[in-house]
């Protein structure tokens, strides 16, 4: 037997034994891929790979990821899927979404008998799909709790929860106008209940909420986009570095706020009102690649069969020259009074395509047919059109309209609005409404039907419009300053139902390039969140904000909180003396959290399941200083055990007398106050007792062992001797 052989096998064994040692070096390379991200000013250097590459956390195919347009079928499919998904908040299952199409029907608010068929499109017979979204208030009763509405077909109606209506795609070819609501829906579905998510993977949580949250005039609140090399700052290529829609701008909003909004609002989201038109635009008029085939145009209206006149159109084919109604010219308010608008000179008429081509008139904004019925049965026809005035001086307002609300789609909006009356006051519950259109990068507010005119809420509407314009870097203007219209959705919502209403004119084309879908949607998706937030009382919010009253209110910072030696911890809110607070409906919400073994490693995520508790505030006779002078202190006494240590999270919910709620701090986050151990560290007698037991067991045990051992040693030594 050779000794070299033996040596070789020894070497092999050593090598193999050393192999695991090599692992240590391997482990460095594994984690190095993480490491390189820490420095440098590339998107991958700051953010997670997913975020830097515009990959949304909800997975799915290119459509669901907004890399490609949805069509009607895939959109509807996705809505169904999201409605069936399970949702939970703080460990409690909540059903927050229910999917609907059209309405059930019945006798509507105008005493007209409607059926489910009344809302189906003329041509393809689809009712508009929509989503009802609500967490159902503090008790999380969800979208199947509360009152059910037989006419509308939804449940989850709560008298005290504000309702919001948001409608997209009135005009078939404006494809971004249903992609934005779809992205909004995806966000609600994905982030509901998951509090403390680090959306962009930079290690920080909720550091860059929607808009300019810290008031420094810069949207990128955390400055991460601004820290990129210049070449990366304008990731959406719109020429505005670190503007809305760019990576790193408004990217890490508060999921707590999102969740709270879902819980405290009833959202009626109609992403695609004009299904007929949209299908026609995609399938017939322009085709799938509409951005190439219809770069500047496309199908706009619904598919009402207008001709050929006067004979009925038996073959049911769409007559492109003549068919269709412009749904956003078909609402009843100031219907058919063009005042120089780009509408047919005679409302309700159809102009053949040849005339149109000859520039005679524009058939694309056909308002729908004249109404020929005597709506009030007084023997006159159309004697009191809907305009907010009693035109015939009969004491009734707007009771015999000239036309409008003639289409299945507009009837759907009409009845969804008018039949949603949780408080039975015979008025619509919607105080806040939003419609999506494209294009022009504008925020529009009423009026649309008149030039040089103002609504009574002119300043208020400008105020909120400015906020949304800032978020999107769009231009805020009165609708009619763009061009006067007639029968407009927003004019109708505001004029008839006293609801604030905005029209977002999204983007720069009817059919944007598919690669632009995502960043344009991102740029616009903050708006519906703002709309939700102000939906409880947009008028009051604007008034308080315009007079700089609500901005004065603040929650005391942790550094300004006096933790007493014993007892409850007072948390103060300073409110402006002009602020109409309601003591009984204002609270400080708190939770006490204690860092556990892994807390320092894993951050705030684990608090997501710790519920907030509320303590009502009480006015105390102490003054506080606001930016404008003196304020009033509202104080909540937070019960915290004296032997507790950890962090007290707190925020305030201050409610006005009319019921609009504001959360402080305003970005939806919370303050964190370190709580020290406040009680005595122990008392002499009991600690002496435990000391005797523990020390007795441990030191006594050691002593006994050593004694036993030593005596043992002696005997052993003796034996040895």
């Amino acid at each position: 037997m050779s000794s070299t052989r033996r040596q070789r096998s020894a070497l092999v064994a050593i090598f193999l034994l050393m192999m695991p040692l090599m692992l240590t070096s391997v482990s460095s390379t594994v984690a190095t891929s993480f490491e390189e991200n820490e420095s440098g000013n590339t998107p991958e250097g700051i953010w997670s790979e997913d975020y830097a590459n515009n990959v949304h956390p909800w997975g799915g195919d290119d459509r669901i990821q907004f890399k490609q347009y949805h069509d009607y079928d895939s959109m509807r499919q996705r809505m169904l899927q999201l409605a069936e998904q399970s949702y939970s908040y703080q460990g409690q299952d909540v059903e927050i979404m229910s999917f609907h199409e059209g309405l059930n029907g019945g006798i509507n608010a105008r005493d007209v008998e409607m059926t489910a068929d009344s809302y189906k499109g003329h041509h393809y017979s689809h009712p508009s799909p929509w989503m009802k979204i609500t967490g159902g208030g503090e008790d999380l009763e969800g979208v199947f709790g509360g009152e059910c509405n037989d006419f509308v077909g939804d449940c989850g109606n709560y008298e005290d929860i504000p309702d919001v209506q948001m409608v997209g795609n009135f005009h078939a070819r404006e494809w971004m106008s249903y992609e934005v609501p779809m992205m909004f829906l995806e966000m609600l579905a994905h982030y509901y209940g998951s509090v403390g998510v680090d959306n962009d993977g930079d290690g920080l949580v909720d550091e860059d909420p929607w808009g300019d949250s810290n008031g420094d005039g810069i949207l990128d609140d955390d400055g991460d986009c601004l820290s990129l090399a210049a070449e990366y700052q304008d990731s959406n290529g719109d020429g505005n570095p670190c503007g809305p829609g760019d990576l790193g701008v408004d990217e890490d909003f508060s999921e707590q706020q999102l969740t709270d909004l879902v819980n405290t609002r009833e959202i009626y989201l109609v992403p695609m009102l004009n299904v007929d038109g949209n299908r026609y635009d995609r399938e017939e008029f322009c085709g799938e690649n509409a951005w190439e085939t219809c770069p500047t145009g496309g199908w706009r209206k619904n598919l009402r069969n207008n001709g050929p006149q006067p004979l009925p159109d038996f073959n049911e084919e769409v007559d492109e020259d003549c068919d269709g109604v412009d749904l956003n010219r078909n609402f009843q308010f100031e219907w058919g009074w063009p005042l120089g608008a780009t509408v047919p000179l005679v409302p309700g008429t159809c102009t053949p395509a040849e005339d149109e081509q000859a520039g005679i008139t524009n058939n694309d904004v056909y308002t729908g047919p004249y109404d020929t019925t005597d709506n009030d049965g007084d023997g006159f026809v159309n004697e009191d059109n809907v305009d907010g005035e009693d035109d015939d001086n009969d004491g009734q307002l707007d009771e015999d309209w000239a036309g409008g609300n003639s289409e299945p789609e507009t009837l759907f909006v009409q009845d969804l609005t008018e039949m949603n009356d949780d408080d039975n006051n015979l008025a619509s519950d919607f105080k806040m409404t939003l419609s999506w259109h494209s294009f022009s990068e504008l925020v529009l507010y009423p009026w649309g039907h008149c030039t040089g005119c103002e609504t009574p809420d002119h300043q208020q509407l400008i105020y909120h419009g400015d906020q949304m314009a800032e978020m999107t870097d769009y231009t805020n203007m009165q609708s009619s300053d763009l061009y006067p219209t007639t029968g407009d959705y927003c004019d109708w919502q505001y004029g008839v139902h006293d609801a604030y209403c905005y029209t977002m004119e999204i983007g720069t084309a009817f059919h944007q390039q598919p690669e632009d879908v995502n960043h344009i949607a991102v740029r616009n998706v903050g708006v519906p969140f703002y709309v939700l937030e102000i939906a409880d009382n947009p008028r009051e919010r604007a008034n308080l904000a315009m007079e700089n009253i609500s901005q004065q209110n603040y929650l005391f910072l942790p550094t300004d909180v006096d933790v007493p030696e014993s007892g409850d911890i007072p948390i103060d809110v300073c409110v402006s003396n002009q602020f109409p607070y309601s003591e009984t409906n204002s609270f400080v919400k708190y939770r006490m959290v204690k860092p556990s073994r892994l807390q320092s490693d894993y951050g705030p995520r684990e608090w997501a399941t710790t519920p907030w508790e509320s303590v009502q505030v009480e006015r105390v006779d102490e003054a506080c200083t606001t930016t404008e002078g003196n304020g009033t202190i509202l104080r909540a006494e937070i019960p915290v055990s004296e032997s507790a240590t950890g962090k007290l999270h707190y925020k305030a919910q201050i409610t006005t007398l009319s019921g609009s709620e504001s959360i402080y701090p305003a970005d939806g986050s919370y303050f964190e106050l370190g709580i020290e151990y406040r009680s005595a560290y122990g008392n002499l007698a009991s600690s002496l007792f435990l000391f005797v037991i523990i020390a007795g067991a441990v030191w006594g045990g050691l002593g006994a062992c050593l004694r036993l051992m030593l005596s043992d040693n002696e005997t052993i030594d003796a034996e040895v001797v």
Binding site: A13, S27, G674, L690
Partner: protein, 561 residues
């Protein structure tokens, strides 16, 4: 024969094993755990688990090592069977992998001792955070102290058991003295404001905390980790036992000594902190390295007696800490070396190879990814990733030991049933199988204390339950609280742990065959009652005694073509 390597006496073994058990965990982790888990409340589970987890496991280890007379690989080869020799490799690997970065941690302690005696931690304008950051961000310094620790360790174990024993006796005795000195000063400090609130806190039970599972889990993990139970260390040192050593008494002594030191260290640290800190609980629970290297220097600087008091306290404490770390380091390296020696390698060569490996594989932990946390304190992330991966692996070493015992009992019972000596069925198993290991290897007559049925209960009932609770709570916590937990690229996730574990396990299992084809040399002292034929692996012809040759015929048969 005559080549066997032994401790000179019982105290040598005791000091060596206490040295192994007492490490930085007793001195810097224990006070932090007390602070974070309700003071005296924490002591209750911590003492309970000493008796039902740590001591029973150490008893088992001593008993196995005393018979097998080999390191972990040989012990598992003999007790768990040839197929399971890789478990010994796992045990050795985990200990060595921890050694890679433990040498660096021990180096930090030495550095702070050096800073303490040179006055670098006291005086006006000393910012302990800055001192710490400067040190950690200076790779040459960190490596120099890591090297120093490894060099000391190498010298200590170069010559074998007797040298290990001497070093441990000296270092451990000094550690006791230094700690008592520090404790005296701490109590004096705490008392100077009129109350001993640190001591009061440490011994006051908060009844509300007692029902918190977290407190019990922390008590268990502290007991499991700080005592080195299940690490294979006791197996290794048992190899050097004299022939008639009392394993049970040794295990108890070691456990009690370990906890005694913890109490002293806890009292010293907490009293000092409570004496000067305005929010002592926050200070004490504030991160693992922070308390030792950031808070304590600040606290010690305010020791009574001015500059001299501060000097004595600082130098004393960090020297004690260094000693604790070095003696643990010694056992870690020895555990690895013993396995090489068992397989026929020359001792000095094995020591050299292991030390060099520990130095080089420790380097990344010393210098890579030293970062600043949110509070601006430097921390070595690579080291923490290593700890994350291998720290939990320790628990499996303990599981493997229990497995060997379960297997032994089951086989013995089966055999006896075949011979008609034991009744079949569960009752028979309970009667013969469960107590088999205890009857055959623990209660052997060398022991003053007879171990009763309680030990079976601990090993067969308590161990699997507690093991599962620990693993589930750790991994459950991780899964619930970590984003991207399954991604093996996430250094804080579970994916990285499982990946490394499985690679190591696969490599080791595939090495098993090679391992058992090699001769194994046992370290049997003269006259010891440890004949191989009495052990479960007795039919393995390749096992022999150090100094004797393997039966030549067998080996030739193995290696001839």
């Amino acid at each position: 024969m005559g080549q066997s390597d032994q401790f000179s006496g019982r105290l040598g073994l005791i000091f060596a094993s206490i040295g192994a058990a007492i490490g930085t965990g007793n001195i810097w982790r224990f006070p932090r755990m007390v602070g974070a888990n309700g003071g005296g409340t924490f002591l209750i589970p911590w003492v309970i688990f000493l008796f039902i987890w740590s001591i029973p496991l150490v008893i088992a280890e001593f008993a196995m090592g005393k018979r097998s007379r080999t390191g972990t690989v040989g012990t598992f080869r003999i007790f768990a069977g040839k197929k399971f020799a890789w478990m010994g490799l796992w045990t050795a690997w985990i200990s060595t992998a921890i050694g890679f970065y433990y040498a660096i941690v021990a180096g930090w302690c030495l550095k702070y001792f050096q800073l303490g005696i040179s006055g670098g931690l006291t005086g006006d304008g000393v910012d302990t955070t800055e001192v710490w950051n400067t040190f950690l961000q200076n790779p040459l310094q960190v490596i120099a102290f890591q090297f120093l620790v490894i060099a000391i360790t190498l010298l200590a174990i170069w010559k074998g058991a007797k040298a290990i024993e001497k070093v441990n006796v000296i270092l451990m005795t000094s550690l006791f003295v230094l700690l008592f000195m520090t404790l005296g000063l701490s109590l004096w400090m705490d008392l100077s404001d009129g109350s001993l609130d640190g001591a009061l806190f440490m011994f006051t039970v908060d009844p509300a905390m007692l029902s918190e599972p977290e407190v019990w889990i922390n008590g268990l993990s502290q007991s499991a980790w700080s005592c080195s139970a299940g690490m294979g260390m006791a197996i290794t040192y048992a190899v050097y036992m004299r022939k008639d050593e009392d394993t049970v008494l040794n295990a108890f002594t070691m456990g009690f000594a370990n906890n005694s030191i913890s109490i002293i260290a806890g009292l010293a640290v907490l009293s000092a902190i409570f004496a000067v800190s305005s929010d002592p609980l926050a200070t004490v629970t504030n991160g693992s390295s922070a308390i030792t290297f950031l808070a304590l220097p600040e606290v010690f600087a305010q020791a009574p007696g001015g500059a001299i008091g501060a000097f004595v306290m600082m130098a004393g404490f960090f020297l004690a800490l260094s000693f604790a770390a070095i003696t643990s380091m010694i056992s870690t390296v020895e555990l690895c070396v013993r396995n090489f020696v068992d397989h026929g390698y020359e001792r000095q060569r094995s020591v050299l190879i292991t030390s060099i490996a520990i130095f080089f594989f420790g380097l990344p932990s010393a210098i890579m990814w030293v970062k600043l946390d949110a509070a601006g304190v430097a921390f070595p992330e690579f080291l923490e990733v290593q700890d994350h991966i291998w720290g939990y692996g320790l628990m499996f070493s303990g599981l493997f030991i229990a497995f060997s015992i379960w297997k032994y009992g089951y086989i013995k019972w089966k055999k006896e049933v075949e011979l008609g000596k034991a009744p079949p069925g569960f009752a028979g198993y309970l009667g013969v199988g469960v107590s088999a290991f205890r009857d055959d290897y623990i209660n052997t007559g060398d022991n003053d204390i007879e171990v009763g049925r309680w030990w079976d209960l601990c090993l067969y009932l308590a161990f699997p339950i507690l093991f599962s609770v620990l693993m589930l709570s750790y991994f459950g916590d991780m899964i619930a609280n970590t984003e991207d937990v399954w991604n093996p690229g996430n250094p804080k996730g579970l994916g990285i742990i499982l990946t490394f574990w499985s690679v190591v396990a696969i490599v080791f299992i595939s090495l098993n065959k090679l391992l058992i084809s090699r001769p194994l040399y046992r370290n049997v002292p003269e006259g010891a009652d440890a004949d191989i034929s009495l052990l479960p692996g007795g039919d393995d012809p390749l096992i022999t005694v150090l100094g004797e040759d393997v039966p030549v015929g067998e080996l030739v048969a193995e290696t001839a073509d």
